[in-house]
């Protein structure tokens, strides 16, 4: 693969974005790629929007990308998908967790959560939308949502053949191995 691939993950503090970015990075290294991964620390983590960027290919220089450069935007929340939309390449893919998480002005009753975001995204982008949070709850732990999203991205990247079980086990606490592996498998089997 000559061209460097760019992935932007967006969501809200606490959704497990940084963890799956690290898991994906480990997998990409095992697959033999050069990679750079960039994350934002500090004040942003206090319930604010969180993003990480992963770039991989033969040789990666910059750890970050600009607008219009992401081959994949993986959004863990609907409004965040809309907020970061301009990072997506016009022919890139948006993988969306169809899930709503109000921000401070919405919780305080000073703004309404916007309607029909998914409909608009469907119209304007190459969208893969799934209710990963619901699926995670069905599996037994809403926090496995991030692993469900990771599995979807994995499929799109054509990386299903990596030894995911090992990588997940290496990066997740033992008592959560089983449920996360289940979530990963379940997500891979979705059509």
């Amino acid at each position: 693969m000559k061209e460097t691939k760019n992935i932007l993950l967006v969501g809200v503090g606490g959704q497990g974005i940084i963890l799956i970015s690290k898991i994906l990075s480990a997998a990409l290294i095992k697959a033999g790629y050069d990679i750079k991964m960039s994350e934002v620390h500090g004040m942003a983590q206090r319930g604010g929007a969180v993003t990480t960027q992963i770039r991989f290919g033969e040789k990666v220089y910059s750890p970050i990308i600009g607008k219009g450069s992401a081959d994949f935007v993986v959004a863990f929340e609907k409004m965040e998908a809309m907020r970061w939309l301009d990072y997506l390449k016009p022919d890139g893919k948006l993988i969306l967790n169809d899930f709503e998480l109000g921000s401070a002005p919405i919780l305080a009753g000073k703004a309404e959560y916007p309607e029909k975001i998914v409909e608009e995204l469907k119209e304007r982008t190459n969208l893969i939308s799934l209710k990963a949070s619901d699926l995670a709850s069905e599996i037994g732990n809403i926090k496995t949502m991030n692993i469900i999203m990771l599995a979807q991205l994995t499929k799109e990247l054509g990386l299903e053949d990596i030894e995911w079980e090992d990588i997940l086990k290496e990066n997740i606490k033992p008592k959560f191995h089983e449920i996360n592996l289940k979530a990963f498998e379940k997500s891979l089997s979705l059509n």
């Binding site: 963890l19 697959a31 750079k36 990308i65 809309m82 401070a104 809403i142 990066n171």
Partner: protein, 645 residues
């Protein structure tokens, strides 16, 4: 959920570069020869950094900087936490050959490590960019004196203000303090270059400034590891002429320093491998340093020639002149200030730089592409009507909430704030803050306000709020000012038992050190009484009656006073002795919709667990409520009820 994310110390993966994988028929087949060399990825072990040499690991620039300093034989490291620099010392603390500590502030960190350097040990101090303002005093003078054990100051600048109050470019400190400047552009260089920094420091008898930026600090890239080269602590011999900075001595030292800088410039031109040319084209030549090099390579690839500078002060003039002769057009690509550009222009060389590339904010490849090549990427435009802001907020159960809620009711009072999570007390709906300037100003600015109000007969109460760690950092001297010069400001020390914003570092109030040793814990009450504050009260900030009473009794006071709120950060992993004092809450709260009058009072505390529906009223998310009870205390209809024991 946030707590779990925050406390997960999952860091690094190690792997062997020779570990090859061949995919065939959907099966993974490992190349036999290399399979045995596969190493176990060790995430939970504290020893994850003790990798075998010649291994490659994915490291952040901060981790690589610590690794490089360890490999260089550093014995002493001191820092005050500050994004994006914090993980340098957190990583260093895992290397037992290095004594690592959190200092109360950056000036102390520098002075302590300067002492260690004079004592003969290779030493390091690390700080965020604004921390260097605090530490500037000893740095400037140590540049005059010269070192015994090699000495490096690491500054982590924050272009784009990801988590800072400004985006100052600390490269100017090198020029101002007259110390050599080294700038890596990724994790591998961070590790390699800091080793050279120690060689330069000892060979030229100068402290070295090592400059990182957020995207180097917090980006992961692959790093080849090497072993530690043990460097013996040099013998210390008293040398008054060198280490006692009297005017007479330093007149001589200044002359010597100018001579050292000339030699360092020769080194930068002819000897160091940190400054290198990549000649690909005679059309475009790019002069760049730090992360900007990576952005430039991304945009121009092999279509331009590069003068990649890693040793940027003293600037290698001869090398730049030579490079300029080899290309027709020169771009200087650098983030924020025109540090290189000004110097290059002073050589009479015509360049394109800040006339096209933005001076403010963080760069990225696309900004450079647009600025220099006029190429703009097509984008999918977000619909602004479908986006509501998502500002950071105080966490559910944050012990700062109760205090800011009660302060927000004191209309007309001035509240001077400070740097930390509690800066978020300034945000909607609490809106309980007038100023935030720098570390410690929450205390000292309160004094200035109180004096002006007093001298102009304005009856306005002044509160200064400051966190535990920030109070140790710069609040104590400010409180002395209040006592000594007699103002009636009330200082509120928000003691959440940890340095929270930067990711939970111990401090002199927590009873533990960076190297996880038990140590003496500062008693805030005793400390402020010793300074001369007579009216002192320690309260539980989750008990609103206590909070209100403690505030009310200061309103008419003619003397200075201190309120200490003592309750741990909701995300803190409690020490054993804290578990007794702050027993974990077993219950949460929920709204009894029949009793809820939809008055929205509970929304005024700004808790992210509480939302509101016009039909059903308030709702508390059971997944994120931690049972702090502040909402139940503000509800005048008793509609918020306890669930569980």
């Amino acid at each position: 959920m946030l707590g779990i994310l925050f406390l997960q110390k999952i860091r690094l993966r190690e792997f062997n570069p020779l570990y090859l994988r061949i995919l065939s028929h959907n099966k993974t087949i490992y190349h036999e020869k290399y399979f045995t060399q596969t190493c176990i990825i060790d995430v939970y072990s504290k020893n994850f950094l003790k990798g075998v040499s010649n291994m490659k690991k994915l490291l952040t620039g901060n981790e690589a900087t610590a690794r490089g300093a360890w490999e260089a034989g550093v014995h002493f490291a001191s820092a005050y936490p500050g994004t994006p620099s914090t993980e340098i010392l957190e990583t260093m603390a895992n290397y037992k050959e290095v004594y690592s500590e959190w200092a109360p502030n950056e000036k102390v960190a520098v002075e302590a490590s300067v002492g260690a350097s004079i004592a003969g040990a290779r030493s390091l101090a690390a700080m965020k960019h604004v921390g260097m303002n605090v530490a500037a005093d000893p740095i400037f003078t140590y540049a005059y004196l010269g070192v015994n054990g090699g000495y490096v100051v690491v500054t982590a600048d924050d272009p784009g203000l990801h988590s800072s109050q400004n985006e100052q470019d600390n490269r100017y400190y090198a020029r101002h303090a007259k110390m050599p400047l080294i700038e890596p552009s990724d994790s591998q260089e961070a590790k390699d270059f800091i080793k050279e920094a120690y060689e330069v420091s000892e060979r030229f008898d100068v402290p070295v400034l090592f400059r990182l930026t957020t995207r180097i600090c917090h980006s992961y890239s692959l790093v080849e590891l090497e072993d530690r080269k043990e460097v013996e602590v040099k013998k210390y011999k008293r040398n008054i002429q060198k280490f006692v900075a009297t005017p007479a001595a330093n007149r001589v030292h200044h002359v010597e320093l100018e001579e050292k800088l000339k030699k360092l410039e020769e080194y930068a031109n002819n000897e160091t491998k940190l400054n290198r040319e990549e000649i690909n084209s005679d059309e475009i030549g790019i002069i760049t340093s730090g992360i900007s090099y990576q952005y430039a390579k991304e945009v121009f690839g092999e279509d331009a020639s590069y003068l990649k500078l890693g040793f940027t002060f003293p600037i290698p003039k001869e090398k730049i002149r030579n490079f300029a002769k080899k290309v027709k057009k020169i771009y200087v690509i650098e983030e924020n200030e025109p540090f290189l550009e000004t110097e290059i222009k002073a050589l009479g060389i015509e360049v394109t730089g800040k006339d096209k590339i933005p001076l403010t904010g963080e760069l990225n490849p696309d900004i450079i592409r647009e600025a220099l090549l006029g190429e703009k990427r097509e984008t999918v435009q977000p619909n602004p009507e479908k986006i509501v802001a998502r500002p950071p907020t105080l966490c559910s159960g944050c012990p700062h909430r109760g205090m800011f809620f009660e302060l927000s009711k004191k209309k007309g009072a001035v509240i001077t704030g400070d740097i930390g999570c509690y800066t978020l007390g300034s945000a909607d709906p609490l809106n309980a803050m007038d100023t935030v300037i720098c570390m410690g100003a929450g205390v000292s600015a309160a004094h200035g306000f109180a004096k002006v109000f007093e001298r102009t007969n304005q009856k306005r109460k002044v509160f200064g709020v400051v966190g535990d760690s920030t109070f140790f950092h710069s609040g104590i001297t400010s409180l002395l000012d209040i006592v000594y010069n007699k103002s009636n400001a009330t200082i509120i020390i928000l003691d959440n038992r940890i340095t929270a914003m930067t990711g939970h570092q111990e401090n002199p109030g927590t009873g533990y050190s960076l190297m996880r040793e038990k140590t003496d814990e500062v008693d805030f009450e005793k400390l402020v009484r010793a300074i001369g504050i007579k009216h002192v009260r320690t309260i539980n900030p989750n008990n609103l009656d206590e909070v209100k009473e403690s505030i009310d009794e200061t309103m008419e006071l003619e003397e200075p006073s201190v309120i200490i709120t003592r309750y741990p950060c909701v995300l803190k992993k409690l020490h054993e002795e804290e578990k007794e004092e702050f027993a974990p809450v077993q219950h949460i709260y929920k709204v009894n919709t029949e009793k809820c009058s939809k008055c929205k009072m509970c929304l005024k505390i700004g808790c992210p667990s509480i939302s509101f529906d016009k039909e059903t009223g308030a709702y508390i998310d059971p997944n994120s409520c931690v049972g702090c009870s502040v909402c139940a205390q503000v509800c005048t209809f008793d509609a918020i009820e306890k669930v569980g024991v």
